[in-house]
């Protein structure tokens, strides 16, 4: 599969990246190279291999349902670019 410039624009939109025309052209080429490498991997016969979701042989790691301390609201918003009344300020959103 070959990626078009439109594909790059779409992926950039999903990732909220603003790209210049030059960057789009350059990334189209470079991402297509990466796709070729994956294409090579696809050639491997994995029909006898179970899907892997994790590389470590661990399962059922749980914590007990006990409540502990949280941060103070002022610490929570300490890194926010903008905050008010201990809440994060973001551009208006039109949804609930």
């Amino acid at each position: 599969m070959k990626l078009s410039k439109q594909d790059i624009e779409h992926v950039a939109l999903l990732a909220r990246l603003e790209l210049s025309e030059d960057e789009k052209d350059s990334l189209t080429g470079r991402l297509n190279q990466i796709m070729e490498h994956f294409g090579k991997l696809q050639e491997l016969d994995t029909s006898q291999v179970a899907p892997t979701s994790h590389s470590i042989p661990l399962q059922n790691v749980f914590r007990h349902d006990t409540a502990g301390r949280s941060m103070t609201p002022s610490d929570v918003v300490a890194n926010a670019p903008e905050s008010r009344d201990d809440q994060f300020v973001v551009p208006q959103v039109v949804e609930t």
Binding site: N60, H64, Q92, V93, T96
Partner: protein, 479 residues
Amino acid sequence: MIDYEPVIGMEVHAELLTESKMFCKCKVDFGGAPNSRVCPVCLGLPGSLPVANEKAVEYVVRAALALNCTISEESLFHRKNYFYPDMAKNYQISQYDFPIGSNGWIDITVDGDTRRIRIRRVHLEEDTGKLIHAGGNESLVDYNRSGLPLMEVVTEADIHSAEEAREYLVRLRAILTYLGVNDGKMEEGSLRCEPNISIRQKGTAKLGTKTELKNLNSFRAVFSGVQYETERQTNVLNEGGKVIQETRRWDDANNRTASMRVKELEQEYRYFPDPDLVALHFTTDYIERQRSILPELPDEKKTRLMEKWGLPAYDAEIITDSRAMADFFEETVEHCPDAKTVSNWIMGDLAKLLNAAGLDISDCKVKPVDFARMLTLIQEGTISGKIAKGVFDDMFETGKAPDAIVKSGGMTQISDEHEILGVIDRVLGENSEAVAKIAAGDMKPMGFLVGQIMRHTQGRANPEVVNRLLKKRVAEPAN
């Protein structure tokens, strides 16, 4: 005109009643100051590590079993990636192709017909934060809710009317509250329902374009919303238009739906297994242990109440919609075994008072034993049915025992014939005109006279005795 029918699938989100959040130790409670229940895991700060809440997983397994689902041997948490400030980390931990439960069902009864609604999946995820519009072009974000354990239950598109949609939700809510995994409070948003609705020509299989409804905060809203949306789509098609795939918001004040946003892009959430969270593995032993501790569920309880107490199916269904209601009924009939009277009062006066006060029966001040005592006072003739309503209002308001209310309010019913005769004679003496009419064969003033007698006794006279004695008196006057 073409006959259309709605095709509805339901997506329900239920907040789980745990002490702590899904992947961290922040306390679950509502009404806290903004961002007071937030930690590095909630915010997705570098170096933080989410760890799954064991109780939340158990709750979802139990719910899935109660919904007749198959429990996956292996289940995974995935990251659902999107940019929206309701999550601080730009993804929501959810489940994708390996949900905890799948292929279940709920049976619902509408107009006497029982239909099976298939459950496609039951999965576990984290809730999102709350956005508050601050006015201007800004919103404020509070992450207290983000990371709460949230269960999602998705049906197949098996629902074909607003009644069925509501009934499905009533039964699902009953099951979840019986299990104690959710509080069932739709108006507070701890149980949220998002139906997707399309219409198709009756008798055909081809599905139309669907819309999704949000902001349905009550059973009534679910019913009205689905009904409205069905009619709206029918009108669009009948006028030659096209239904657009979009999310629509139910506007409860104006009883209509309005477009929220058109989904221009098919959402691309780029799901992948969360590398921070290892797989869940459920052994047969574990699953059977969870199954063995399931409580009596609404359908079983309904059957039992019908068999043990002779309740009609309709009463049993309504009483078992809530576990607290069913418990209240059962405790009451232990003390007052007239089951039908008990269920009439619960479905009538009690339900009315609870609705008016906006209370759940679990918040009701009336104790079942006092409720039973009040019904016994009526049966024994100590108070009249009419007086009982006032006594019950007082009990509901104050939580006082009925005997105390009856005694202090002087509400005891008067059945003593001698005492009632005295009142009758007084009333007859004061109303010679009415008496004369009756003597002349015009029985119309009888009702007036009964009213006067009741007034003189503050409504406490036993009406049956009053009627009997009054008839006798006008037929054969004392002097």
